[in-house]
């Protein structure tokens, strides 16, 4: 396990031997004058499945936004395939990296098929608005995510779980091999959380996507992700396999939580059983 205190430089450990797709170097992220993330280094390798965890307000969503080029770093930089992401044209980024915001809004009345079709935007131009490839990719994305039957339904009439599937279908249609998801399971009941994470896991396993997901639920993160990145107060505290990261000590350090960590009886991944909140 690699841990570090907020003072020491944080370490990062790639989980697979693949080449580095996305990297953060000395990242400082701020909204106006308020610094949210400080001195963060991180590398994400090709074909990895990483979950970013941490307490509310630790800067994990902010980090994801910076990795997706939605937020310009106050210092440091993000590298996409070795190239500074801020210097890469928006459209090139959109062809390499897909991003699902935390609570994306679909305009009222927009159908699932139209939503998924919007995923093709980075591949289209004014003349080339709907190529045969676009059509095939969208149809395949709909059927792969089991949204074929709902294709003509307005997105705003779907249940939360179906809506999230529709957005993931759009990300799939975008055709990027890097996908960043910001808390895709928010507001979903447990069975739909599982449903969405199974779909994300299939994106990784069957479609070879490199996945980075911000998650709240530690047990689900440990079960689905190959690698956990734990943050607190804008600093990367630990990074490694779920077994390396989810220790009783880390839960106390990062979440102020006294907890027992036992093997998940189904998946064997570490499972957190909370005891009580620690006062600091």
């Amino acid at each position: 396990m690699t841990t570090s205190t907020p003072d020491a430089p944080p370490l990062s450990a790639p989980t697979s031997d693949g080449r580095v797709r996305l990297a953060a170097e000395g990242l400082r992220l701020a909204y106006d004058d308020r610094v949210v993330v400080e001195g963060l280094d991180l590398t994400l390798t090709d074909g990895s499945f990483t979950a970013i965890v941490g307490p509310n307000g630790c800067g994990k969503s902010t980090l994801l936004r910076a990795l997706g080029r939605l937020l310009r770093p106050a210092a440091g930089r993000v590298l996409l395939d070795g190239r500074a992401i801020q210097r890469t044209p928006t459209r090139d980024v959109a062809r390499a990296l897909g991003l699902l915001p935390q609570t994306p809004v679909a305009p009222a009345g927009l159908t699932v098929a139209d939503l998924v079709a919007r995923g093709r935007h980075p591949h289209q131009s004014w003349l080339r608005q709907w190529s045969a490839e676009d059509e095939a990719v969208v149809a395949e994305a709909l059927s792969w995510t089991d949204m074929g039957d709902l294709a003509d339904r307005p997105v705003d009439e779907l249940s939360g779980g179906q809506r999230q599937r529709a957005w993931i279908s759009m990300a799939l249609a975008q055709g990027t091999d890097l996908i960043l998801l910001d808390e895709p399971t928010t507001y979903l009941d447990l069975s739909h959380q599982i449903d969405v994470l199974e779909l994300v896991a299939r994106l990784h396993a069957e479609r070879g996507r490199t996945v980075v997901v911000v998650l709240h639920d530690l047990n689900l993160a440990a079960r689905y992700a190959q690698r956990l990145v734990a943050m607190r107060d804008g600093v990367l505290v630990a990074s490694g396999t779920p077994h390396e990261v989810l220790t009783e000590q880390l839960l106390a350090d990062v979440f102020d939580l006294e907890a027992r960590v036992v093997p998940d009886p189904v998946a064997g991944s570490p499972m957190v059983v909370p005891v009580r909140r620690l006062r600091r």
Binding site: P107, Q124, P154, E157, Q174
Partner: protein, 369 residues
């Protein structure tokens, strides 16, 4: 190179409340490809036909009726002197101004409403037409009074209105811009500008001579009376540039609708696209209002009517432009024929448009922005 046109049957959604998406048609010709909903094609075609019929009717109607045959002969270059003057110099430019102003307002309304994701975001509410009113009323009431008044009077009412609208648009843009434009903030800033403009207009009117105030009031209502080629020509030229720009923005608008983060994730340079959309919309409104005054309700109602006719998730640009043209042309025809006294067209667009929108709202369940 092969051209393919295919139709895709889209099934009616089983749940109540959903609207049938309608058939889609795909068009491919070499590297060029596009996809439309049938209704998004049919509505503009029908609206264009309505504009042509209303315009043709309008050419023959008025205080001095001219038969259809004579109108056609005159248009073809023949016909007697008096009829030529009435048709070509009096009625044709007036009708053309009506068509163009209606199209510009409908299109600008669709741009603003889609961009702000808010059906209230029309140039009437955002204070841009109010800015034009301030300019025009100042030019009418202050001319001869002071040196500033001289300047305004010399500018003429249309140019003063144009300056007022552009000034309001520039203020709106600058005050609402915060490294990008937020629809909600745009509406709030717009409403503040609207109130300020209203206060300025009222202040100018209360201090004005009664005949000036009356002339100003007619202008504020929006009128096509006595519009000539002097208004039609510049309007035609500016729309020849602005309408293609606006229609080209349609593709990006469809993605901007998702909000900044999603749009950026899909490869759109959001701030640049937002700026371009708002600038084009402001220019459309300014040129329209300079020509005919702030014809009420067109920009607010027409896009909402058009989206209910075509279906879909946002006001269609082309259909909004053509429906706007049809509404203004039709209202102008009514004011000049059926009604006992020639009313400013703006009174009728509000009187006709508002009940129609209410009917659509009562009939339909869904309200896309």
């Amino acid at each position: 190179m092969t051209a393919t046109v295919s139709t895709v049957r889209q099934t009616t959604p089983p749940e109540p409340g959903g609207r049938p998406a309608g058939r889609a048609v795909t068009l491919r010709l070499g590297p060029v490809s596009a996809r439309f909903r049938w209704r998004a094609v049919v509505v503009p075609v029908v609206a264009s036909a309505v504009v042509v019929v209303l315009g043709a009717l309008s050419l023959g109607r008025g205080d001095y009726p001219i038969g259809v045959g004579d109108v056609l002969r005159t248009l073809a270059g023949a016909g007697e002197q008096g009829q030529r003057f009435i048709v070509l110099d009096l009625r044709a430019p007036r009708i053309l101004v009506g068509v163009l102003v209606g199209a510009a307002l409908g299109l600008a309304g669709a741009l603003f409403q889609t961009f702000a994701r808010n059906p209230l975001a029309s140039p009437d509410v955002l204070g841009i037409t109010q800015g034009a009113s301030v300019g025009a009323v100042a030019a009418i009431t202050l001319s001869g009074g002071s040196s500033a008044g001289e300047l305004l009077g010399g500018l003429g009412v249309p140019l003063a209105a144009l300056a007022g609208a552009l000034g309001a648009g520039a203020l709106l843009f600058t005050l609402a811009w915060r490294s990008g434009l937020d629809g909600f903030r745009l509406v709030l800033v717009g409403i503040a500008l609207w109130s300020a403009g209203q206060a300025l207009t009222d202040w100018l009117l209360t201090g004005a001579q009664i005949h000036d105030a009356s002339a100003a009031y007619v202008w504020i209502t929006g009128s096509l009376n006595a519009r000539s080629w002097d208004q039609a020509e510049p309007l035609l030229l500016s729309l020849a540039v602005l309408v293609p720009l606006a229609l080209a923005a349609g593709r990006v608008l469809g993605v901007l609708q998702f909000g900044d983060d999603t749009a950026r994730g899909l490869g759109v340079r959001v701030a640049r696209a937002q700026g371009a959309v708002v600038v084009v919309a402001v220019l459309l409104v300014a040129t329209a209002v300079a020509a005919a005054g702030p014809i009420a309700f067109v920009a607010l109602i027409v896009p909402q009517v058009a989206v209910r006719l075509t279906g879909g998730s946002r006001p269609p640009l082309l259909a909004s432009a053509l429906c706007g043209a049809a509404l203004v042309t039709g209202a102008d025809l009514l004011t000049r024929t059926v009604l006992p006294e020639a009313l400013p067209v703006g009174i009728l667009t509000a009187a006709v448009g508002a009940p129609y929108l209410l009917w659509l709202l009562v009939r339909g369940r869904r309200t896309p922005a």
